[in-house]
């Protein structure tokens, strides 16, 4: 306990607490409302009152959402595509950073600036041209239609974060490894990468957070079910169950659940990662 704490008197603390609670309620209430309505009978939604107290909790809404919403398939796709995107983004970022920061070549500065420039390009400006490109070379409806842009738009931030971290690692470590006869690849992957855990975690979290919830590209580049991701489940489902609102609420709650659970478990790391990623990015 420090002196500040003693300075804040009890009534003042209560006022602070109430203020913060009101903001918390504003931030959370729509989600509470969502879960509440997802457990009601569709007819009960039109009754008076802000929340409904269902006569019987309608778990069936979730069963419908899970089965008819193809939850497992979309969840599997989301998990696979995002994990691959994170892995590729990490390895490619570290390799590119090493080449630009440590290796001696004329264009290193230029190439690094070029890669960082990607941060300024609005993702949605590439939707139309990429659609035509992928269509012509037969990538639409394949996993690559999502993987390539997900990796590409994660790279600028990845390179930025890993390169600034890398420049703080003393060169002596590598020199010692070189004397022992290590090649460049072994230096990058066996010596440097393990030292960069903190920034790799940040890049992973930012990449996951950005891509997990992405749906514009998914709905533009994919037309069959095979590779569609979770956010897409909602778009598809609301069309299918357009008159049964309670089931729509259930599919939304179900789709939000995985990310929310992970966030609550790992919230310390995630908030730290976002802060580090955003402050530096």
């Amino acid at each position: 306990m420090n002196s500040e704490m003693r300075k804040t008197s009890t009534p003042a603390r209560i006022i602070l607490f109430v203020g913060l609670s009101i903001i918390a309620l504003i931030q959370l209430f729509p989600l509470i409302w969502l879960v509440n309505f997802s457990l009601a009978n569709p007819n009960e939604l039109f009754t008076n009152g802000i929340l409904v107290w269902p006569d019987e909790i309608q778990w069936g809404n979730y069963v419908k959402a899970f089965v008819d919403g193809n939850f497992l398939l979309y969840f599997k796709n989301s998990l696979l595509i995002n994990t691959l995107a994170v892995l590729f983004a990490l390895v490619i970022s570290v390799m590119a950073s090493f080449a630009c920061i440590r290796m001696n070549w004329k264009l290193s500065g230029f190439v690094k600036t070029l890669l960082l420039l990607g941060m300024m390009i609005p993702i949605h400006a590439t939707l139309l041209p990429n659609y035509v490109i992928y269509d012509r070379i037969g990538l639409t409806d394949t996993i690559w239609a999502l993987l390539i842009p997900y990796i590409a738009f994660s790279l600028p931030q990845g390179v930025f974060l890993t390169s600034s971290f890398m420049s703080s690692i003393p060169k002596e470590l590598e020199e010692a490894a070189l004397i022992d006869g290590c090649g460049i690849y072994r230096i990058v992957f066996i010596i440097i990468m393990p030292l960069m855990k903190a920034s790799l975690v940040t890049v992973s979290i930012m990449t996951y957070l950005n891509n997990w919830n992405e749906f514009m590209m998914a709905s533009t580049y994919l037309s069959t079910k095979q590779w569609k991701t979770l956010p897409f489940a909602i778009l598809e489902f609301t069309g299918q169950y357009s008159s049964n609102y309670a089931v729509q609420f259930a599919v939304m709650a179900l789709t939000a659940a995985p990310a929310l659970i992970i966030y609550i478990i790992l919230n310390k790391y995630i908030t730290k990662g976002v802060a580090a990623g955003a402050v530096k990015g």
């Binding site: 420090n2 002196s3 500040e4 704490m5 804040t8 607490f17 203020g19 913060l20 903001i23 918390a24 931030q27 959370l28 729509p30 409302w33 969502l34 008076n48 490619i92 390799m95 590119a96 090493f98 080449a99 630009c100 290796m103 001696n104 070549w105 070029l114 890669l115 990607g118 300024m120 609005p122 993702i123 949605h124 400006a125 590439t126 939707l127 139309l128 041209p129 035509v132 490109i133 390539i148 842009p149 590409a152 738009f153 790279l155 460049i184 990058v188 957070l209 749906f215 514009m216 956010p231 778009l235 609102y245 729509q248 939000a256 990310a259 908030t271 976002v274 802060a275 955003a278 402050v279």
Partner: protein
């Protein structure tokens, strides 16, 4: 050792994956956009060059100016409403300490981990005229509660509310981290001198947070320009073009109106606007920083 670090083959092998992804997924589409921006391509059929006709039309297009106006409005909303609340909340949260501090920090960020698709549909329901949360709230307050939240005249404010609500936690977290980086000794010294929370906020927190505020404001303006997903699902730019944003506008032109060439012309202008905005904002803040350091 020098030789190993200048080995062209090794350099090439390290940089190629990154450079190739960048060229294929970011640079190539921009070039394709520039090309189609000069044509009247409809998505199918033949491609005819029409010079800068698309750009001439764009300058006179009401939807384009509406998009820019809405981005500006959103940026103002972020800066005038969201950020002051976020900054004060962060400062208060920092004073709270203990378990409650961690709890609130965790709660405020929750809307950010939920997919925009869910957020947009959820708010569409909140605004629903029949069973929506807002109209029911009005009814409880004794009003009629039949407001058409996404109707003409009202829609843009409803959209702004969602975006300001959704991004709050993100902005708060950045400010919070910035405040945590301020040396607590400063606050202790201020407390010894008898400064209250308000005085400490304006004479310690605000000045020291300047770089963080500048960065956050820059990101907010860029985010306002790039806005698409929420609007796409909530109103798709409507009614008319009242809630239009550039990204949604170009998408609608290409896929709904089959003006693929025109959509690409908008893409090109969109990229230019984002680049210029980023460069200009960074320059403004960098200059101010420099002057401050010299002074």
């Amino acid at each position: 050792m020098k030789k190993l670090y200048s080995n062209k083959v090794v350099i090439l092998s390290l940089i190629t994956p990154g450079l190739l992804t960048f060229l294929l997924a970011i640079l190539a589409p921009i070039c394709v956009s520039i090309y189609f921006g000069f044509t009247d391509f409809a998505g199918i059929g033949e491609v005819k060059f029409i010079g800068i006709e698309n750009y001439k039309v764009l300058i006179r297009d009401e939807g384009f100016w509406m998009s820019l106006k809405n981005s500006l409005l959103l940026a103002v909303g972020f800066i005038v409403i969201q950020h002051p609340i976020a900054l004060v909340t962060a400062a208060v949260l920092d004073k709270l300490q203990g378990k409650a501090e961690g709890f609130f920090r965790c709660v405020y960020f929750i809307p950010n981990v939920i997919s925009v698709a869910i957020i947009a549909y959820l708010w569409k329901f909140i605004y629903n005229p029949n069973f929506g949360l807002f109209n029911k709230l009005l009814q409880i307050l004794g009003l009629e509660g039949n407001v058409n939240w996404l109707g003409s005249g009202m829609a843009i404010w409803s959209v702004l509310l969602v975006l300001i609500w959704h991004g709050f936690g993100w902005g708060m977290l950045i400010y919070y981290t910035g405040i945590k980086n301020i040396d607590p000794v400063l606050y202790e010294a201020a407390a010894i001198d008898g400064a209250d929370f308000k005085q400490a906020f304006f004479s310690i927190t605000m000045p020291l947070m300047k770089p963080v505020i500048q960065m956050n404001v820059t990101m907010a303006i860029i985010a306002a320009l790039k806005q698409m997903e929420t609007v796409y699902l909530l109103t798709n730019g409507g009614p008319g073009n009242e809630t239009q944003f550039l990204a949604n506008f170009l998408y609608k032109q290409a896929f709904k109106s089959y003006k693929y060439g025109y959509g690409n012309a908008i893409s090109v202008i969109f990229i230019i606007i984002c680049l210029v905005a980023t460069v200009v904002l960074n320059k403004i803040f960098a200059d101010r920083e420099e002057r401050r350091r010299k002074a």
